[in-house]
Subunit: 329 residues, 2 copies
C-alpha cells in the first residue's frame, strides 16, 4: 500500500468524523464511518483478456470440481476450497496428495476476484496465474499439467466445453484451464451481507454492537490494510502469529523486509473461514482479533472492544453462491 | 435369490413372449418384455423405525458432506461418493485416508435405498447398518465413531439439527448419525430414465437399438439377477473378473460356496458408474458386458448383441438429484 493511499484513507476518516460529529442529526451516529468502507460490487474486476462468459465460467466450474486432474484421482480444487465450508477447509493447514500436510492455511476463494495478489505470499498476481499452482504442487494435487491436459482430452465433453469457451484451435491447454478456473472463481461473490445492506442505507442491517465494532475497527486503524471491497489491500506485512516460522513473502522477493510477511487476508465471510492466519493456528475470531491487536498495534485490546469487533466481523458474512455440483463426464 | 423367484421370472418371461407374439397388434414389438421389468418407484422403501422426515434427510445431507468426521478432516462420504461423478469416484479402487487404496471399487449410493444388501459383500443388510462403516474404516475416513460424535457435538447447529430430527434426549449418537445418513441416501433416487419412460408407456423413449438390447438382456437371462426396480436382486454370485483375487462374500459367511461371490450391482445409471466390477478393473460398458457373457453364460456374446445391450444400459441413466452443497458450521 502506498503512503498516499494511507493518507487518503485517514483523510476520509477525518471527514467521517466531521460528518458524524457536526453533520445533520441522524438516527445513526456511526453513519460518518461509511465513507471509509466500500460495498462489495456485484461483479469482480474482469481482466481485458479473459472475458467472463457463461460458457467459460461453466467450464471453470467443472474443472474446479474435477478430481481427475489430480494424481490420486480424488482431489479437486473443491476438496480444500470446499463449498460446504466457505470455500476453504476449516483445518489449520491444507491436506493434499497422500495426506501430506502443507505449511499454510487454505485461503477462501470467495471474492478472490477482488484480490490484487493471490496466495499468502502473493507469488501470483492474478487468478489466472494462481489457478494451476495447486494442480501441480506435490503436496496438493500432484499432477504435472501436461498429464492433466491429457486426462481432460480423454473426455468428449471437455473438447466441446473448451471449444465453446475459447474460439481457437486445440483449446484444451493449460492457459485456457487457468482462464476458465479464474472466470468461475470471479463468480464466487458473496453479496448482501448485513454490512453491505448497512452501507446501502439500511440503518437496521447491523446491530448497535456491530456498529460499535465498525467504529473500533476504523478508529484502531484496522481499515488501513483491511480496506476496499474485499477488506484487503492485497499488500504484505510482517506478522508472527503463534507457532509460525514461515518466511512468507521473503521466499518470493528475497528481501529482508518481507521476512514473515503475508498478504492481508480478506475479511469478507471471515466468520466462515476459520481457523485463522497463515498457519491456521488460531481457531476463533476472538483470539484472532487479540492477536492482531498485539501484532499490529502492540497492545491488548479491551475485551469489550474485541467483542464489538467480533460482532462487526460477523456482519461481513454474505450470501454464498448456491448451485448444484456439476455432473462430470 | 430363491429358485421360486427365478421360476416366477421365467414364467413372466413366457407370458411376455406370448403377449408379444399373439397379443393385439402394437407399434412396439418389444412391449411383451415390459412385464419382466419394474419401473423405479418415486420413493425408496422406508424402514418402519426410521421415518424419512425432511429434518432427518437434511441432517443426513450435512453429515454426508461433513469432512470433520474423518481423521484427516478432509474426507467425507461425498469424497468417494462424489455427486459430480454419479455418487461414486470413477477410479478403480477407493482411495481414502492418507491416500491408501482399498481392494474394492466404490459403489454408487444412487438408488441404494432399493438394495436388499449393502457393500459388495453384503456385510450390512441395510443403509443404517452400512452408514458408519466407512467412517471408521482405517483406509477410508479412519475416524473412531466416538470421536466423530464428539466432533459433531462441538457445533451448536448439530445439536439443533439432531434435536429437530430425533425426539429424544442426547440425540447426537452413532445410531442417529446412521439413521440420518440412511434417510438422506434414500432420497438419492434417479427418476425419468428413458427406460422408465418406456415402461410408463412412451414407445419412443427408447431407440430401436435400446429395445433390441432390452430383448437380448432378457433373452440371455441377465434379468434373472439384474431385476427389480434397481435391476439388482441384492444376491451374491461367484465371479472372477480380470485381476481379482478378492474372496468377497466368503469373508462374511466363511462358506466355500461364497468364495469370490459379490453382490449383483445395480444397473441403474450404470453408464455413469464406471469403472466396473468389484475391483474396478474394467473401464467401459462394452468390455463389462463381454466379461459378463463369459463369466455368467460361458460364451462370447456376438458384437452386435453387446452393442445393443450397451445401448439399453445407457437408457437406464436417470435424473441425478440436483441440490446445492449444504453449508456446514
Amino acid at each position: 500500500m502506498s503512503n498516499r493511499s494511507v493518507k487518503r484513507l485517514f483523510a476520509l476518516s477525518a471527514v467521517g468524523f466531521a460528518l458524524a460529529l457536526a453533520g445533520p442529526a441522524t438516527a445513526d451516529e456511526y453513519a460518518g464511518y461509511k465513507p471509509m468502507f466500500q460495498p462489495l460490487p456485484a461483479i469482480a474486476p474482469i481482466p481485458g483478456d479473459n472475458s467472463l462468459t457463461e460458457a467459460k465460467a461453466e467450464l471453470g466450474k467443472m474443472l474446479f470440481f474435477e478430481p481427475r486432474i489430480s494424481a490420486s484421482g480424488v482431489i479437486s480444487c473443491a476438496t480444500c476450497h470446499n463449498p460446504a465450508l466457505g470455500y476453504t477447509d476449516r483445518i489449520p493447514r491444507a491436506t493434499g496428495h497422500m495426506g501430506q500436510v502443507g505449511e499454510r492455511n487454505t485461503p477462501t476463494v470467495l471474492n478472490s476476484g477482488f484480490f490484487g495478489a493471490q496466495f499468502w505470499d502473493g507469488r501470483a498476481p492474478t487468478l489466472e496465474a494462481q489457478a494451476l499452482g495447486p494442480v501441480e504442487a506435490g503436496i496438493e494435487m500432484a499432477m504435472p499439467i501436461d498429464k492433466a491436459v491429457a486426462r481432460l482430452k480423454e473426455f468428449e465433453i471437455y473438447h466441446q466445453m473448451f471449444a465453446a469457451a475459447f474460439d481457437e484451435k486445440d483449446p484444451i491447454k493449460p492457459a485456457n484451464m487457468a482462464k476458465a478456473l479464474a472466470a468461475f472463481q470471479r463468480t464466487l461473490v458473496t453479496p448482501n451481507s448485513p454490512f453491505d445492506r448497512y452501507l446501502a442505507g439500511d440503518d437496521h442491517a447491523m446491530s448497535a454492537q456491530q456498529k460499535r465494532g465498525m467504529k473500533a475497527f476504523a478508529d484502531r486503524g484496522c481499515v488501513g490494510c483491511h480496506r476496499g471491497p474485499a477488506l484487503t489491500d492485497s499488500n504484505f506485512y510482517p506478522i508472527k502469529v503463534p507457532g509460525s516460522t514461515d518466511l512468507g513473502r521473503y521466499l518470493v522477493t528475497k528481501k529482508d523486509a518481507d521476512k514473515h510477511a503475508f498478504k492481508t487476508p480478506t475479511l469478507r465471510n471471515v466468520a466462515l473461514t476459520y481457523p485463522y492466519f497463515n498457519n491456521g493456528n488460531v481457531d476463533n475470531l476472538k483470539d484472532a482479533i487479540k492477536v492482531m491487536g498485539k501484532e499490529m498495534l502492540g497492545l491488548d485490546l479491551p475485551a469489550k472492544e474485541v467483542a464489538d469487533i467480533e460482532a462487526f466481523l460477523h456482519a461481513l458474512t454474505g450470501e454464498v453462491p448456491q448451485f448444484a455440483v456439476p455432473s462430470l463426464p
